[in-house]
Structure formats: structure tokens, C-alpha cells
Amino acid sequence: MTLTAELRVTRGNFDLSLDLVIAPGEVVALLGPNGAGKSTTLRALAGLSPLTSGRISLGESTWDSAETFVHSEQRPIGVVFQDYLLFAHMTALENVAFGLRARGVRRAEARAEASRWLDRVGLGEYAQRKPRALSGGQAQRVALARALVTGPSLLLLDEPLAALDASTRLQVRSELGRHLAEFGGHTLLVTHDPLDAMVLADRLVILENGRAVQQGTPSEVARQPRTDYVANLVGLNLYRGVAGGSTVDLADGGTVTIASPASGSVHVAFPPSAVSLHPSKPEGSPRNTWQVTVAAIEQHAHTTRVRLDGAPSVLADITTATLADLRLRPGDSLWAAVKATETHTYPA
């Protein structure tokens, strides 16, 4: 059974038009900036808001179309919400058992099954705790157990790790990955965190302004981003231009020498770490050099990322030592250099 969805939702000025296909056992991550339509997609699949047109079907059964609308409570789904939405007046066990009780499973049976799931997510001893007495990571796992206990065909995860602090996140992410690998149904992971998407998903769908702008496996998307948003996500400098032999005329201005000849409309990408900065025009080896001015300096854990304006504008990662040598300040004028062999060119 494959989940196929032609999602068409119009609301005010916003309009979503997204075709999604999820195979059994596949984890698809829907990645995009705020307001791209990620939540709208999730709500439509969950049956919380109807489509304007299009259809959603799982195998033979149709969930949403011009003729039919299956309400949330009748869809075989499980949803993990961003802030989990655990019922505050119920214990962890009652929260997990809720879906089974709602589907008519007898109390004792529902509790036994819920208890097994709590054990599975490693929270057996927290069964009698109220959500308020759980940590963020524990609440997330209860929410996951609650969503999976009914054996859904479609699992929807809405920013499942966004509410966690960095250290918990790492651990919960790997646990989530393990559970997703065991889950045989269809999974859609909605996130704006590229790392979550890369680690957890088999396939990425990048959504911008209600449209899918790129699809592919995490490594494909990371190596060949097609929009600035994706390039930023994976930390690449990305340019569009027209190639003629070993040079590319960029759409935003400037020319780049590339490693292997190409022709026609292309993307040129290179990582910020491939960019070196010099106080004066460097001489020597075949490389691209152009004049830039410092727009902003961001301190990251081990490197410093410099945003540079110029033709083209570029991101550069430099070491703290270089930063000290160059004494960079916004507005400073510099030369940027990139070796042709560091660039990666692919058809647009």
C-alpha cells in the first residue's frame, strides 16, 4: 500500500500544491522554512483540515477527495505534535492507552499494551507520572508511544525534536531513528532542522512557498542543492549561471572558473570552508579571486563564518587564527579566493 497525496489547499493568499508519494516503510522528511506549508500538509494528511481540491489515498481507500472526507478519528494515523499535547490530567500510561480505548479496546488490554509500549521507549517506570512530571525527552517518547500504540498506517511527526535542548536532542534523535526503522508504515517527518531530516529520513522533500522545490535522498540534496534555502541549510555556497567551457557566468554577477568543462544552465556549489580570504589580491595557482566586503561575522563552535558581499556574495568559514590575523570588521574590503577544483557543477 502506498500513500499518495495530491494536496491542494488555498487559504487567503497562501496556496499549497504538493504531490507526495510515500512507500511502506519509507520515512519522508518535509523540510522548509516557516510558512512554507509544512503544517498545512500535516493537517491535511491528519484530517484536521480538508483539502480545497486534490485527493489523499492510502492504497485502495480514499481519505480525502471531492466526494469523500474521512475524519481524523477514522484515519489509521498517529501524530506526534511539536509540543506533544499530552493530556495533562492523565498519567503517561493513560495517555498511551487513550488511542486504544478510543478504538474500543477493553481497559485491561489497553493498559497492558500501553505498558508494553512504555517499556519499549524505555519509560516503564514512569507509567504513573503525569506529563508535568516528565522531562522534555521523556514527554517526547510518551508522545511517540501514544502515536504508535494503535499501529497506524501513517505516522506524522511535527517537529518532533524542536522542543528539546541540544543534549537531549542528540539522544532522542537516535532513539527516534531506531523506532522509525522498526515501524513498517508510512512516515512523514515535518521539520525545519536539516540535521533531523538528514539523519532520520530516507528521502527529503523541500517545500518553499507551497511548492516542492527539490526531492531526493539526503546525500543528493546535500551535494546538489537547487535553491538558496537548501544551500543555506546544508551550508553551501550555491550559484546559478550559464556555463561555457570551463567558466560559468553567474546570474548574480561574476564569473567562476570550474574544474571540468560544462555547458548550458548550471548550478555551481562549493562549501564555505573552500573560500580563503586575503587582504590583497592573491597570486599564483589557478583559482577564482574577486573583491568582497565583510557584511557580517558569526561565531560558530569551531569556526567563524563570514558573510561577504560582492559579485558574487559568498559565505566563508575561517579559523579563529585567520580571524585574528585579518582583524575583520564589517565593511572591510578583502579578496576572496576559491580553487576551481573545490567547485562542484551540475545541470540546473
Binding site: 478519528e73 501524530v79 505534535f81 493530556f87 488511542g99
Partner: protein, 264 residues
């Protein structure tokens, strides 16, 4: 850093203290004038006991009636996409500001033996509400229900509807969601509304005497008994009043935490 603490301006302080005295002196007077010597005798006399019992029973029944009909009404106002909800909400609050006597007259016109509905109640089912204990309950419920509806509706509107969506994705019908998710989450509002409603019903006078009359043992509740006793036996009136005062203060004390801390 020193806090600026001038003296209280007299134009504000004087009326403030007068206002305070105005609210507290009558209550103090009640306690001062109480016939403490014969109090216990009065307190356990047959009339007082009878009126108190009737009052407690009627107010409790009226509260149950308000809960049964008021909670769904509050839900309708807060959650359903019903058109004209704002107007409905305004209508519901009318009994809140309506003089209770007018409420009593309106009830008589509708539920009286010749009333719009009462006529059929009488001829079809042989039910006659005016001047009966049931009539007391109806009159009290009419006056007290808006307190419950407003309180519960406020709690419902403050409750996050996404929890109901979460319940729906777990396979819960709207009724199950209401019972197991919505209602428990607004329970503090329901309790506060219920207590207010009960206190209002307990003190109800105008609508009760108009619609249910004044028959000792049947419709003479505490407030009616106070009013009656004032003419014949002022001491008894004071004792009855003190009992009502104590009940009111008890309710206030019970609700204080909820009012200050709000729903948790």
C-alpha cells in the same frame, strides 16, 4: 533606590474608607446584634432547620440542573461554529442583570398553569410547577445558570483546542473527546462556576417568591424565612442571616484559591 511613598491623598482615602465601612459595618452589625444567649436554641429550632434544609436541597438541585444544561450550552457557545454565537452569549447573560422579580414573573407567564408551556405540562403530564418545591428549583436555576455558563465558557475558550485535535487523531469521537479531554481540562472552571451558581441559588429571593410563593416547608427557603421572620421575630431573622453569612463566607474561602491562582 527609595520607593516613592507619599501620604495617601485625602480625596481618595476618605471615600475609600467610607466605602470599606459601608461594606463591612452592616455585617459587623449583624454579628453585634445577634442574640448570642439564645442563639443555639434558635439555630436548632424547627423553622430554621426546615428552611435551611429546603434551601440546601433546592440550591443543590438547581446547581445540578445548571450543570446538566449549562455545560453543553457553554460548549455550544465556545466551540461550535454556530452563527450568531455572540448574540446568543449576550442573551444568556440577560438573567444575570435582570431583576429576579422580573424573572419570576416571566417564569409564571411561561410555566404557570395558564402559561405558554405550563398549560401543556399541566394538561398532558399533570405537572404544575408554580408554588411547589420544584418551582423553587426552577426559579433558582433560572437565575443562577448564567453564572455557570459564563464561567465554563470562559474556561473552554481559554483551553487549547489542539488537545481536542490530538484526541481526534487518536481515534476519539467528539463525545469521547469532550468527556475525557475537554471536560477534565476545564474542571476548575466548572467547579468555580458550580459553586458560584450554588451560592447564587442559595440566596435567591425575588424569582422564588414570585414564582414559587411562600409556603413553609415547601417553598420557604432561607432568604424568604429571613424576610418573614423580620416582621414577627427579628431575633430569628438575625440568626437566619448569620447562617447564610457563614455559608457565603465558607463558599468564598473555598473558592479563594481558585480565584487567585486561576485554573492550573
Amino acid at each position: 533606590m527609595r520607593r516613592r511613598r507619599g501620604r495617601l491623598p485625602v480625596v481618595l482615602a476618605l471615600p475609600a474608607f467610607l466605602g470599606l465601612a459601608f461594606l463591612l459595618v452592616p455585617l459587623a452589625g449583624l454579628l453585634i446584634k445577634a442574640p448570642w444567649g439564645t442563639l443555639s436554641g434558635q439555630l436548632f429550632s424547627a423553622e430554621v432547620g426546615e428552611a435551611l434544609k429546603l434551601s440546601l436541597i433546592c440550591a443543590s438541585l438547581a446547581t445540578v440542573l445548571c450543570l446538566v444544561f449549562g455545560i453543553p450550552l457553554a460548549w455550544l457557545l465556545a466551540r461550535s461554529g454556530l452563527p450568531g454565537r455572540g448574540f446568543l452569549r449576550a442573551l444568556v447573560t440577560v438573567p444575570l442583570v435582570l431583576p429576579p422579580v422580573v424573572g419570576g414573573v416571566a417564569l409564571l407567564l411561561v410555566l404557570g398553569r395558564r402559561g405558554l408551556v405550563g398549560e401543556y405540562l399541566d394538561s398532558w403530564f399533570g405537572i404544575s410547577l408554580p408554588f411547589t418545591t420544584a418551582g423553587v428549583v426552577v426559579a433558582e436555576a433560572f437565575v443562577a445558570m448564567p453564572f455557570l455558563v459564563i464561567s465554563v465558557e470562559g474556561a473552554l475558550r481559554a483551553a487549547d483546542p489542539r488537545f481536542e485535535e490530538a484526541a481526534a487523531t487518536l481515534g476519539a469521537s467528539r463525545w469521547l473527546t469532550f468527556r475525557r479531554v475537554t471536560l477534565p481540562s476545564v474542571l476548575p472552571g466548572v467547579v468555580a462556576g458550580g459553586v458560584l451558581c450554588w451560592a447564587r441559588a442559595l440566596g435567591e429571593f425575588g424569582a422564588t417568591i414570585t414564582f414559587a410563593g411562600n409556603f413553609p416547608g415547601e417553598t420557604t427557603t432561607m432568604p424568604l424565612a429571613v424576610y418573614l421572620a423580620l416582621e414577627t421575630d427579628p431575633d430569628a431573622a438575625i440568626v437566619l442571616s448569620i447562617v447564610l453569612l457563614l455559608v457565603s463566607v465558607g463558599v468564598l474561602a473555598g473558592l479563594r484559591d481558585r480565584w487567585i491562582s486561576g485554573p492550573t
